[in-house]
């Protein structure tokens, strides 16, 4: 399967095979469409990283090298950057992952959970639901519209 981009009813979506080699394409997709929606650079950069971290988690921890897909959808919204991630990996709710203690010394700190932690820090809302199709994670970032954007 190769990456597929779709435009339906104002929503823009990209579907990728579950491979870390696709992450660059995912970041470019979010970056370009955030700019197209008129989001300011800082908000767009935050969303790009949040999506990268969550899609990495789905591929690495969800599919664990098994074949699969991840759909990245950006529905239109007047005030927020919204990205919806869907996959059919085993159920996993990243909103329930405990935050790592970033004050621990290097020797004692736990590596896992840093990606989810960053995604939470960089967005305003993150919500999860399990659907018939699989996992669905929605990331929301309120942005400042760049001057000149429609």
């Amino acid at each position: 399967m190769s990456a597929v981009a779709e435009h339906t009813a104002g929503s823009i979506a990209l579907e990728i095979p579950a491979s870390v080699d696709e992450l660059g394409r995912v970041r470019t997709f979010v970056r370009q469409h955030a700019a197209m929606l008129g989001a300011d650079d800082a908000s767009a950069a935050d969303m790009v990283q949040a999506v990268d971290e969550c899609v990495t988690n789905i591929i690495v921890h969800g599919y664990r090298d098994e074949p699969g897909w991840v759909r990245i959808e950006m529905p239109p919204d007047d005030h927020d950057l919204v990205v919806r991630l869907s996959d059919d990996a085993p159920p996993f709710d990243p909103t329930q992952v405990p935050a790592p203690d970033i004050n621990l010394p290097l020797r004692e700190r736990r590596g896992g959970g840093m990606g989810v932690f960053l995604a939470r820090e960089l967005t305003d809302r993150m919500s999860y639901r399990r659907t018939a199709a699989g996992n669905e994670l929605t990331l929301v970032k309120t942005y400042r519209r760049e001057q000149g954007a429609e």
Partner: protein, 137 residues
Amino acid sequence: MLQIASEQETTPGGKSVAVISLSGELDAASFGDVIEHARQLIGAGAQGLLLDMTELAYMGSSGIFALHSIAMLVQGESPPDPEQGWAALHTAGPSSEFVEQLKILNPQPQVDRVLERTGMKRFFEVHTDRTQAVASF
């Protein structure tokens, strides 16, 4: 896409320092290459590593894993095995709080923010001048 290049330098005190220049984007697809590159330089005798991040436009949390692994390698310890899950990091870590053998040069704003937000910045010296950075080992 990430490009990795390295150069060998010698400090005024005679220490061998490898400068690893990263350009492009460091993510889950490329962090293993950075660790392997560092491993080879350490195996070839580098006593210190300077990670030049001047041209690194993006770093995900995989980059934090790479930094942690390289910090362990340069201190003569085994890095965690990513195949065992990233939580493997907590099973072994560098022996000291501050890692003197690994330093960072010119992290750009997005990369700097990741270092700051994850609490990693306090473990490494961050420099803005390459000559001074090399001399500081």
